[in-house]
């Protein structure tokens, strides 16, 4: 696109010129004094506008005394503009300016929710600082981000070193900040390009926790290396598991995003919607090194959309050529479920002249569920479904200038409960040109998906000390205080049962048996009620070898996700005459089985217990769902994942399921009694049942010979009631 001088300047002022256009503008300015005069006139309007709105800011924040402090203590365009314009306070600014020191400040405060012991500016110089309470995030150069939580006392030594004499601090250090050192009274922690936390307590004890990567810990002249998920108390030698929730967290970019998003030669493009994360798939397209007058925006390749299909109702009359990629977020569940992760998608598009009525679009959706079922979820994108948690898109009519690429962006805060994102990039064209008309003039290059987690403070933790007794008795908890159900992250440990007799509403996470090889037992007694909403997971059996038990004799309500047996743990949820009301929520059994098939998860309903849940997934390993005596209503029942064996056992009682799905692993559905009833949505025949699409799947019973099938209705939905005929 050839732009005139004025348009070039205007675009420049909105920061929209690419490299080539920048060169063009520079050339015009170099050549002609008139062009420079025009440039000066337009930039003067720009600087006046910037000044005008900056003054607005001052006026808006003026009543807050601390921001006046800050405005004064640092010279900003704003304070200079206001004060110089009014010609007052000249001496006042000069008296608070750092005199005669051109030394660069060490750290920039990027987020400040802290109460400091003295006034501070937007930058911190070398020196000692104290935070009384709250969280501050500092940036030191491009490579180091720090979250510091008060009460904290620290000294900034230089850009590579901070001394902490009290408080909790967490660091995200990228390659360029490698070697950053935290000095504590008991030793030094040297970063090797990583994320880690350091705490110095009032009694002088120190701990170092590694969340990702490695650190070197130097004490008494000896150096010890700690890696991923390890922690150490200084002065001791045996590491334990690091605890990210015990530390504040600086904002950081998650190590997830799009693969092959620069569309360089040699990358593979799948056909059809992908079923695995990290690969592109969609309508036919190809990577080209250039096409006609269009050159890649960067690198040696770009994507050319080729095949098209007719698209759905909101774009009626158009054909589209689409591309998808799945981005798995399950390993970031903690940050995602805390509502802290923001996703930003962008891509560049271009087209050949003559491809009229063309639009480009980027679109992104957040889903919970199984990435392999993406196409099923995606095809229901115009319905309200419990799988889709967020969506956003944007589109544009690209210009016909082959020299310019147009950028499209979209994004959202990733909702709690999201398992994966689906990114969709596409071009459309009016179908009046015929769906067979060549669809080859549309191009895509340089897509990116950036996921950032916002800074957060540490989450207070309350731990059950392991003696049997009442939840509300303070002597059962660490620190001798009953946990604050709205604020605290709660861990139940030990062989003594924690009993809930009254009503408790939890907002943060609750973990029963968290540490390796630990035990934990929580009992909701008859008449008791536990409600879990808000952020944070509920997990029964967390780490390797942990054995967690949740017994429900009263009422248990959950809204988001519950994991039964998360990481090679052994766990049981026993609905013993009580009720578990999980609404549209999700229960996942044996979620992470990838370290060997020994996660053993059981969900048992007995003594007339009841369960209602939107999704119940028996995902990996040994997952058993058994109704000994009681009832369950399940929206989607997923039986089996990639490995291990999933089992559903039906005794006396009724199981109602709207959708039954099967994984690739082994599974069994066992009718134990003639009184067993399975209600399946839709009309079923014996042949259909015997032919259910599970790979190694079988319906069976000790003496099953046949089924009784009856059709009926329940709340307007057609169900088939299935009862076994047991042999003679």
């Amino acid at each position: 696109m050839k732009l005139e001088l004025k348009d070039l300047i205007e675009r420049y002022l909105s920061e929209g010129l690419d490299e080539e256009q920048s060169q063009e503008l520079s050339m015009l300015l170099e050549r002609s004094p008139e062009a420079r005069a025009e440039f000066r006139a337009l930039t003067k309007v720009h600087v006046s506008l910037a000044d005008h709105f900056a003054e607005d800011d001052i006026a808006r924040f003026a009543p807050i005394s601390s921001s006046i402090e800050r405005a004064k203590s640092v010279v900003t365009l704003r304070s200079i503009a206001v004060l110089a314009a009014l010609f007052v306070g000249l001496l006042a600014i000069i008296s608070v300016l750092p005199r005669g020191s051109a030394e660069k400040p060490i750290a920039e405060i990027v987020q400040d929710e802290a109460e400091w012991s003295g006034p501070i500016g937007a930058f911190l110089d070398k020196g000692r600082y104290e935070i009384l309470t709250g969280l501050a995030e500092l940036k030191i150069g491009p490579g180091v981000s720090l979250a510091i939580e008060g009460p904290a006392l620290f000294r900034l030594v230089d850009r590579h070193r901070i001394e902490v004499s009290r408080g909790r601090i967490a660091a995200n250090v990228t390659e360029s900040g490698k070697g950053f050192t935290v000095v504590t009274p008991l030793g030094e922690i040297i970063d090797l390009g990583t994320r880690f936390g350091v705490r110095v307590d009032d009694d002088g004890s120190c701990e170092a926790h590694v969340f990702e990567g490695e650190i070197d810990l130097v004490q008494g002249g000896k150096s010890q290396r700690l890696s991923d998920t390890e922690a150490l108390r200084l002065g001791e030698t045996v590491p334990f598991e690091s605890d990210p929730e015990a530390f504040p967290m600086p904002s950081h970019r998650l190590s997830a995003g799009l693969n092959g998003a620069d569309f360089e030669p040699g990358m593979s493009l799948g056909s059809g919607m992908p079923t695995l994360p990290g690969v592109w798939g969609g309508d036919t397209s190809e990577i080209v090194p250039g096409f006609g007058e269009i050159q890649p925006r960067a690198g040696d390749g770009m994507l050319r959309f080729i095949a098209a299909h007719a698209v759905d109702r909101e774009l009626q009359g158009h054909v589209a050529s689409e591309l998808w990629q799945i981005v798995d977020l399950r390993s970031f569940a903690n940050r995602v479920n805390a509502g802290e992760v923001r996703a930003r998608l962008s891509a560049h598009f271009n087209r050949l002249p003559g491809t009229a009525n063309s639009q480009f679009a980027v679109s992104m959706m957040a889903f919970r569920g199984d990435p392999r079922e993406t196409s099923f979820y995606w095809n229901r994108k115009n319905e309200t479904t419990s799988e889709r948690l967020a969506s956003s898109s944007s589109s544009l009519q690209a210009d016909e200038e082959p020299e310019t690429w147009e950028q499209l962006r979209t994004g959202f805060v990733v909702p709690a409960g999201t398992d994966f994102l689906v990114v969709n990039l596409f071009a459309t064209q009016n179908a009046s040109q015929g769906s067979e008309a060549p669809f080859g003039g549309h191009f895509l290059d340089q897509a990116s998906l950036v996921l950032t987690a916002e800074a957060r403070p540490s989450i207070p933790k309350s731990v059950w000390l392991g003696e049997a007794g009442d939840w509300r008795k303070s002597n059962h908890w660490t620190e001798g205080v009953v946990p604050d159900p709205q604020r605290d992250h709660i861990v139940i440990l030990g062989d003594g049962t924690a009993e809930i007799g009254g009503e408790i509403q939890l907002k943060q996470s609750l973990i029963i048996a968290k540490d390796r090889n630990s035990q934990g037992h929580l009992l909701i007694k008859k008449g008791g009620r536990l409600s879990k909403s808000g952020y944070g997971n509920l997990v029964v059996g967390y780490n390797e070898g942990a054995e967690g038990i949740l017994t429900i004799q009263g009422i248990f309500e959950s809204r988001e996700e519950v994991y039964i047996g998360r990481n090679n743990a052994k766990s049981l949820v026993d609905i013993d005459g009580g009720t578990w009301e999980a609404g549209d929520g999700v229960i996942r059994m044996a979620q992470y089985g990838d370290r060997g098939p020994d996660t053993d998860a059981r969900l048992l309903i007995r003594n007339g217990g009841r369960l209602t849940v939107g999704r119940l997934g028996l995902v990996h390993d040994l997952a058993t769902f058994e109704i000994e005596n009681g009832e369950a209503e399940v929206g989607v029942l997923q039986i089996g994942g990639d490995n291990g064996k999933a089992e559903v056992r039906l005794g006396i009682g009724k199981l109602q399921v709207e959708q039954l799905r099967f994984g690739a692993s082994n599974g069994e559905f066992v009718f134990e009694k003639e009184d067993s009833e399975l209600w399946l949505a839709g009309k079923w025949t014996v042949a259909l049942l015997r032919d259910l699409p599970g790979a190694n799947w079988k319906f069976q019973s000790r003496d099953l010979t046949d089924f009784h099938l009856e059709f009926g209705e329940n709340n307007g939905v057609e169900f088939t009631r299935i009862r076994p005929k047991l042999g003679p």
Partner: protein
Amino acid sequence: MSDSSSSGDQTTHVQQLFVKHVALLKHFVISLLPNPSEAEDIVQEVFLVITAKAHDFEPGTNFKAWLLTIARFKVLEHLRREKRTANRLSDTAIDLLAADMEDADSGPDPATLRALSKCLNKLAPKPKLMVELQYREGLKPAAIAEKLEWEANAVYVALSRARSGLRKCIERQMNHPLVQPE
């Protein structure tokens, strides 16, 4: 420090000159770094440098030239550090603009800002919204487009029209003020 009083005087003098020329400095810096907060950082840095180097300045010589030299250096250093190639003027263009700026008027003075504030009130609602989204909210055109569900190009055009309108209006106000400044 034994020479603190004379050193303090020289520093104060240079700082007073800085405040006198700060509008010009801002205009120069923002014309090379159109993002206002980025420009703000450089202006801050320039202030720290002139304070530190106050003694290098010979009273009676051209302060504007000295100021613009330091600013030009700081901007180039910043652009190189950022390895910026998009939305960046060439070094030659920057040199020429610095030279021009020495002879130019003094950047947006209070009268210009008053005129601007009147002209903003005369702007039609749509262009006014664009201007507020860019300058008050700090949104770039692509983000504005997304927010309003417009095409990005339409936003560029609207912003460009808004600024041209403001420019003409400010010039009219300055030459034939309808209302005398109070």
